[in-house]
Symmetry: C2
């Protein structure tokens, strides 16, 4: 299957969408502009060997993940996804099944979250599988929730459990689009992020952008059951703080809102935990057994150079 | 330089832009929505070894090309570029200079065409250099020029000369943003495409989308002077028809408009050529020395599988 046959194959599988005036196949896609407001734009690239092992995951789960990590960024702004543009670098020896399965994985979760796939670019090369998705979304009222905005005294809450995502959840997680929108309707979200680098790393991002610090309570951090299946030398807490790719939400709310969320647990199927608080001084601290230690924001960092 | 240092480095080099409410560094960029109308969205990926040889081109020209090929797609719709999101896969052993030079190359041409860089994703891996740019643009009145819309009898015009771009123009070309907008103001562009696959391949795209055929006149096709420096077994005409990556505009206009454009040559610094016409029957033909032969749309096709 050549590039143009693949484009034809894709176009046949592209459902009509009122928001898409011109879909895949022209020089650009044409997207209907929304009435006023703003657009959210995010892009994430997945690379073979770094973000997935193709032989283990299979192309459909890789495609799903490529779309889902971008949906998670839209969730972190409490936005609604609208349209995705995809570019793919395929290993030259790949069979056409790989390209198809990749697309079906993306399509599956795009459909679940009502996201149009509006275009893309497919190329073959001598390297490994590389997939880049750019996702456009719209804010939901009262507007995008940024990383900045946490205030000293705010509570830090997270959805779900953390750690051990490498056992499979890093591929099969559900982006917290619905949960973020629900929370955005019922409380004033001061700041929010999705947990991709690990809780310690991502709370560090919130602190930096909000120009404040944070104290996390070790016994309040919900360790995902997956962690106990890892059997390595690291502590459960270390995994929960630093594994990353949980794609849960970490957010700052006023104490009264935090207290209400913890009491009512209004998000179906997700338990929220109150894991700490923001403080005026910079830096991050971990409270454990009556002690307060520095918490390094190491998380998961792709370093180069 | 780690990922976060690189993000800081990028943010310091991101100028303020009225259209960008939140720039790089949060989960998503936030782009001000335009009043009504539509958005153009395009994405193109460049891969080491397929689209450039890093050691020959150098990272700055590669970055420039990654942005320029997307600008060329916006030009092909007669649009105005607005904002770009970038994702990069860097070889793990690359030095920080590579990432910086890549960015400076993108920045240089983005600035020339008043395009904001609103975000991105940078990763290291064991593979070669992979760069994906997604560009958002706005249509200019009276709206986007599609590949469909060429009518039997329309003239086929192109800007500039074709062939031999591999000698360097495929890296250093100027996307025809200004030229497309100018043409869009003064004539009714029925259909347009940028020449990336080669004239034969791209006119084939126009024909398929417009459900018609085309006749090209061999002696009217402007061969770029670069072709005569290639010294290979292929004819000059073969190069002009099939080399690709010229990034000139090929477009369909009514004969009266075509005649006027040819007579007045209203686009500064660019000579337009009348290279053929669209016909009702499907298929492509090349007229040469009184003969009419089938013209295969082979162009430059990335094939896989």
């Amino acid at each position: 299957m050549g590039e143009f046959e693949y484009i034809d194959w894709l176009r046949k599988r592209t459902p009509a969408d009122d928001r898409v005036l011109v879909g895949p196949g022209d020089d650009c896609a044409v997207l209907k502009a929304l009435a006023g407001g703003a657009w959210l734009v995010t892009t994430d690239m997945l690379l073979e060997g770094t973000h997935f092992v193709l032989a283990d995951a299979g192309p459909r789960r890789v495609g799903r993940k490529a779309m889902a990590v971008n949906l998670s960024d839209i969730a972190a702004m409490a936005g609604r996804p609208v349209a995705a543009a995809i570019s793919v670098g395929l290993p030259r020896n790949a069979d056409s099944k790989l390209a198809e399965e990749l697309y079906l994985g993306m399509r599956e979760i795009a459909d679940e979250f009502k996201t149009a796939i509006i275009g893309g670019d497919t190329n073959a090369w001598d390297g490994g599988l590389a997939i880049s998705v750019t996702l456009l979304g719209e804010p939901t009222p009262p507007g995008p929730v940024l990383r900045q905005g946490a205030r000293p005294g705010d509570w830090l809450l997270i959805t779900g459990g953390l750690g051990g995502s490498l056992l499979g959840r890093h591929l099969d997680f559900t982006p917290r689009i619905r949960e973020a929108q629900k929370l955005h309707q019922i409380v004033d979200l001061h700041a929010m992020i999705d947990v991709s680098d690990g809780l310690a790393g991502d709370v560090h991002h919130l602190c930096e952008e909000s120009r404040c610090g944070a104290v996390l309570r070790a016994d309040a951090i919900p360790v995902h059951p997956d962690v106990s299946r890892l059997h390595d030398q690291r502590s459960l807490l270390d995994h929960a703080l630093n594994d990353g790719e949980d794609f849960e939400l970490a957010f700052a709310v006023a104490p009264a809102d935090g207290e209400r969320l913890m009491r009512t647990q209004p998000v179906d199927g997700i338990v929220m935990s109150h894991v700490g608080a923001f403080i005026a001084e910079g830096g991050m601290w971990l409270e454990q057994g009556g002690r307060r230690d520095i918490l390094p924001p190491r998380g998961y960092v792709h370093s180069f150079g």
